[in-house]
C-alpha cells in the first residue's frame, strides 16, 4: 500500500501536431467567463443592497444618487471589454489560421474530463475554419450587442446581473462552437440554453416572462434528448465522441444510408430543431421575446439559435451519409421557413415579427444544410447574424424610444406594438436608415448580404433537386418552390414591419410624441457597424456564376467564393460523399430550367417588386392603435394570427395530458394503489390483531375450551398425519 497520489496531477495542455500554433485559444473562452465572474459578484452585491432595502420596506434606486454605484458602472467596461479582447484574440487567430492554410483541425487538450473504462472525453477545443467563423461571429456580433446593451439597459436596476448572464452566455456559446467533440459541444449546448432561460426570464418578477424562460428550457430539453441519444449511438458506433475520429471513421464504420447513421443524424436533427426553433419545436422562440431586446438579438437571432445549423454543418459528413435525414432536415427547414413567414404576416408585436422572421430564416439555413449546401447554410448564418442582429437592435432602439416616451407621458400603451407606432422615421433617422438596410438585406435585394446567402441556399436546393441519382429529387423541387415563395413572403412582412413602424401617420400617443428621439450614440454606433456588415457581408462568398456577371459587378466584388474555399477543408468530405451518392448537382433549375444567374436575377427583381408593391399597398393604409383594434381577425388571417395553433395543440396534446397523468400517478397510483397497499398491510395486521384479541374473553371456560381444541388439533395431527 503506497501513500502515493495514484492519480496524475492536472494535465498540461497537449497539442496535437499542427502546422499552426493558435494564440491563447483558451483565453477566448475564458475571458467571457471572467467577465461573468466579475459581473456576477457585482450583481450579487447590488442585489444584496436592493434586497436589504426591500426587507426594510423601501426600494433601493441605484440611480438616485449623484453618481452611479460602482456595481452599475464597472459592468459597462467589464462586459463589453472582455468581449472586445476576445474578439481581437479571435481575429488574431483567424489571421494566423488564414496565413497557415490549415487542412486539419487543431485540437488543444486541456484536461481529461470524463474517463471510464472505455470512454474518454477531454476538455479540448478544436480550431478549424468552421469554428473560426463561428468564433468571429459570436465574439464580433456579441461585442456589438454588448456595447448596444450599455445604452439599452443603463437604467435597469439589474444591470450587472444582465451583463453577467450575457457574458456567461458567450462563454457557453464559445464552448459550443469550439468544443472538440460532441460532448463538449453539449456542454455549450445546454449552457446556452441555461443562459437563454435566465435571460428570457431576466425580469423574473413578471410571471409571463419567467414562464417564457421555463418554456424555452423545457422545449430545448426535448431537443437535447435527441442530442443525448445521438451521442449514445455515436459512442456505440465509434467508441468516442471526438469530432476527429468520428468524421474520419464515419465512412468506414457506418453504411451509407444505413439505419445507424440515419438514426444518429435524425436524433441530432431533433436536437438542432429544439435549439434552432424548427417546427414543431419552434414554439419557444416567439415567447422568448420576453427577454430584453439585445438578448433577443444576440441569443435568439444571431448566435444561439443558429447552433443547430452549426451542428448540422459540423456533422456534414454524417448527414452526407444519410440522404433520408438530409431530406428530413431540408423538409423541416423549408416547412419552418414557410410557416413562420406566414405567421409573421399577421403579428403586431415588432419583436414577434422579428422572432418569426428569425424562425423562418433558420428554416432557410436548415434547408441549405439539408440539401448539402453546408457552406451556404453557414454563409446565411453569418449574414443573418449581421442583419437580424441589426433588425433586433433597431427594434430595440425603437422600443427603447417608445418606452421612454410612453413612460414620460405616463401612458400604459404597449411599447412594442407596431399599431402604436407609425411615422417614427422623422424622429429616428439613423434607426430608420439602418433598419431599411437590414430589411432589404433580409429581403434578398442585391447587392446586400442576404441576397447572396439566401440565393445560394435556394439555388443549391434547385441544383441538388436535379442531381441524377437523388432519390428525393421531386421532393427537393417542391422545397425549392416553397423556398422561393417564402423568400417573397419575407420581403413582404419585413416591408410591412417597416411601414407600420416608421412610415405613415404617427399613432403614438399624442402626449408621448415630443419625447420620442433617436437612440444615444452608444446604441446607434453598433447599429451602423452592423449595417455596414449587412451591406458588405455577402461579398465574401459571391458564387462563381454570378461573380463575372453584373450581379458580381463583373468580378469587381472582392473575395469571390472566399468562404467556400475557406470552409473547404471542413466540408469537402461531405461534398465528396454526397456527390458520389447523388451525382453532380444540375446546372439548371428543375421544371423550367435556367441557370443560377437567371434565378438570382429573377429573385432579386421579384423581391424588389414585392417590397415596392408592399410599400405602395400598405403605405397608404390606416392602422388602428392597439387599444382600439379589438376586431379578432377571422379566416386564414385568424389562423395566422394564432400561429397555426401550435401552442394550443401542444397544450391540449402534450402538456395537459402529461399534467393529468402526473396527477393521476400521484393521487391514484401513489396515494391509493401503492401507499394504499402498504397501509392496508399495516392496518390489516393491526385489525387482525384486534380481531384475534377478541377471543380473549376473560372467561376461564373459554380458555379451557380453546386449550382443548388445541389439544385435539395437536393430537389429531400427531396421530393421523
Amino acid at each position: 500500500m503506497g501513500f502515493a497520489a495514484s492519480v496524475p496531477g492536472p494535465h498540461l495542455p497537449v497539442q496535437e501536431v499542427a502546422q499552426w500554433e493558435p494564440v491563447l485559444p483558451g483565453l477566448i473562452i475564458l475571458l467571457p467567463l471572467l467577465g461573468f465572474v466579475v459581473n456576477g459578484v457585482l450583481a450579487l452585491r447590488s442585489a444584496a443592497r436592493s434586497s436589504a432595502a426591500l426587507r426594510s420596506g423601501t426600494e433601493w434606486d441605484p440611480f438616485a444618487g449623484p453618481a452611479r454605484p460602482r456595481t452599475h458602472t464597472l459592468p459597462t467596461w467589464v462586459g463589453p471589454g472582455v468581449m472586445f479582447v476576445a474578439f481581437v484574440l479571435a481575429l488574431w487567430n483567424f489571421a494566423g489560421m488564414y496565413g497557415a492554410e490549415l487542412h486539419d483541425p487543431v485540437v488543444v487538450r486541456y484536461w481529461t474530463w470524463i474517463v471510464t473504462g472505455n470512454l474518454q472525453i477531454d476538455a479540448a477545443i478544436q480550431l478549424d475554419q468552421l469554428s473560426m467563423i463561428m468564433m468571429l461571429v459570436v465574439t464580433g456580433v456579441g461585442f456589438l450587442i454588448h456595447v448596444f446593451s450599455v445604452g439599452y439597459m443603463k437604467d435597469d436596476t439589474g444591470y450587472p446581473r444582465y451583463f453577467a448572464y450575457l457574458n456567461l452566455f458567450v462563454f457557453f456559446m464559445l464552448v459550443l462552437v469550439m468544443g472538440a467533440g460532441y460532448a463538449m459541444m453539449f456542454i455549450g449546448w445546454e449552457g446556452v440554453g441555461l443562459c437563454s432561460y435566465l435571460l428570457i426570464g431576466y425580469w423574473f418578477t413578471d410571471r409571463e416572462k419567467s414562464d417564457a424562460g421555463k418554456k424555452a428550457f423545457i422545449v430545448n430539453r426535448i431537443g437535447d434528448l435527441g442530442f443525448l441519444l445521438a451521442m449514445f449511438l455515436l459512442f456505440q458506433a465509434f467508441g468516442t465522441l471526438d469530432f476527429g475520429p468520428v468524421f474520419e471513421g464515419a465512412e468506414g464504420r457506418l453504411a451509407a444510408g444505413g439505419a445507424t447513421v440515419t438514426a444518429i443524424t435524425l436524433l441530432l436533427m431533433l436536437g438542432a430543431a429544439g435549439k434552432s426553433a424548427q417546427v414543431p419545436l419552434h414554439v419557444w422562440l416567439p415567447d422568448a421575446m420576453a427577454g430584453p431586446t439585445p438578448v433577443s438579438a444576440l441569443i435568439h437571432a444571431a448566435t444561439m439559435v443558429t447552433a443547430g445549423v452549426y451542428m448540422v454543418a459540423r456533422s456534414s459528413v454524417l448527414y452526407a451519409l444519410a440522404p433520408t435525414s438530409q431530406a428530413v432536415v431540408a423538409g423541416v427547414g423549408v416547412l419552418t421557413a414557410l410557416l413562420a413567414a406566414t405567421i409573421a404576416l399577421q403579428q403586431h408585436d415588432i419583436k414577434k415579427v422579428l422572432a418569426y422572421s428569425t424562425v423562418s430564416q433558420l428554416g432557410f439555413m436548415f434547408l441549405g444544410a439539408g440539401v448539402g449546401a453546408f457552406t451556404a447554410a453557414i454563409f446565411h448564418l453569418m449574414t443573418h447574424a449581421f442583419f437580424k442582429a441589426l433588425l433586433f437592435l433597431g427594434a430595440g432602439a425603437v422600443i427603447h424610444a417608445m418606452h421612454h416616451a410612453l413612460h414620460r407621458a405616463d401612458s400604459h400603451e404597449d411599447a412594442q406594438d407596431m399599431r402604436n407606432m407609425g411615422g417614427l422615421k422623422d424622429r429616428m433617422r439613423i434607426t430608420w436608415v439602418v433598419m431599411w438596410v437590414a430589411t432589404l438585406a433580409i429581403a434578398g435585394i442585391w447587392p446586400l448580404a442576404g441576397f447572396f446567402s439566401k440565393d445560394e441556399i435556394i439555388w443549391y436546393t434547385a441544383a441538388w433537386a436535379g442531381a441524377p441519382s437523388n432519390p428525393f429529387g421531386t421532393l427537393y423541387t417542391v422545397y425549392w418552390l416553397v423556398a422561393l415563395v417564402t423568400a417573397m413572403l419575407t420581403a413582404f412582412y419585413m416591408t410591412r414591419l417597416m411601414v407600420m413602424t416608421f412610415h405613415g401617420e404617427s399613432r403614438v400617443e399624442r402626449n408621448a410624441r415630443p419625447h420620442l428621439h433617436e437612440a444615444p450614440r452608444v446604441m446607434w454606433v453598433p447599429l451602423a457597424i452592423l449595417a455596414v456588415l449587412s451591406v458588405f457581408g455577402g461579398w465574401v462568398n459571391v458564387p462563381e456564376p454570378l461573380a463575372e456577371s453584373f450581379l458580381g459587378l463583373f468580378g469587381a466584388l472582392p473575395m469571390s467564393e472566399w468562404l467556400h474555399h475557406w470552409l473547404e477543408p471542413v466540408t469537402h468530405d461531405a461534398a465528396a460523399i454526397q456527390t458520389a451518392a447523388l451525382g453532380e448537382p444540375a446546372y439548371g433549375a428543375p421544371l423550367v430550367g435556367g441557370g443560377e444567374f437567371a434565378w438570382a436575377l429573377a429573385s432579386t427583381l421579384a423581391a424588389a417588386v414585392v417590397v415596392l408593391a408592399a410599400l405602395r399597398a400598405l403605405g397608404g393604409r390606416k392602422y388602428v392603435a392597439a387599444a382600439r383594434d379589438t376586431a379578432a381577425p377571422g379566416g386564414l388571417r385568424g389562423i395566422l394570427a394564432n400561429k397555426w395553433y401550435f401552442d394550443e395543440v401542444f397544450d391540449a396534446g402534450i402538456v395537459r395530458p402529461v399534467l393529468a397523468a402526473s396527477r393521476w400517478c400521484w393521487k391514484v397510483v401513489d396515494a391509493v394503489l401503492i401507499d394504499g397497499f402498504v397501509n392496508f398491510v399495516g392496518n390489516f395486521t393491526r385489525l387482525a390483531g384486534w380481531t384475534v384479541s377478541l377471543f380473549q374473553t376473560g372467561q376461564a371456560n373459554t380458555y379451557a375450551f380453546v386449550l382443548t381444541l388445541g389439544v385435539l388439533l395437536v393430537l389429531g395431527a400427531a396421530v393421523f398425519l
Binding site: 380473549q696 376473560g698 372467561q699 371456560n701 375450551f705
Partner: protein
C-alpha cells in the same frame, strides 16, 4: 386388558376435561381436574403391570402433588371469593382482550 384400562382412564380424563370446559363453579372445575389426575393415576397403575413397579409409585407422587395443589388452589378460590362473594368463574373477567 391393558387397552380397556387405558380406555377407561381416557374416558375419565375426557369427562374431567369436559367438566372443566362446561362447569362454571371454580370448585367443580377444580374437582374435574382432580378427576383428570386420577384418570392418569389409573393409567399408571394399569401400565405398571407391564412395565414395572414404578408406575404405582408415581401414583403416590401425583396424589401428593394434587394435595398440595388443592391447598394452594382452594386458598386462591377463597381469596377471590372474598372479592366477589361467588366462585362462579364467568364473573371473573376483569382481565380480557
Amino acid at each position: 386388558m391393558l387397552a380397556y384400562a387405558l380406555l377407561l382412564s381416557a374416558a375419565l380424563f375426557v369427562i374431567g376435561t369436559l367438566g372443566v370446559i362446561v362447569r362454571r363453579n371454580a370448585i367443580i372445575i377444580f374437582l374435574s381436574i382432580e378427576l383428570q389426575l386420577n384418570a392418569v393415576n389409573l393409567a399408571f397403575v394399569a401400565l405398571s403391570r407391564y412395565t414395572g413397579i414404578e408406575g404405582q409409585l408415581f401414583v403416590f407422587f401425583v396424589m401428593t402433588v394434587a394435595a398440595a395443589e388443592a391447598a394452594v388452589g382452594l386458598a386462591i378460590i377463597i381469596s377471590i371469593f372474598r372479592h366477589y362473594k361467588t366462585v362462579n368463574v364467568d364473573r371473573f373477567n376483569l382481565l380480557k382482550w
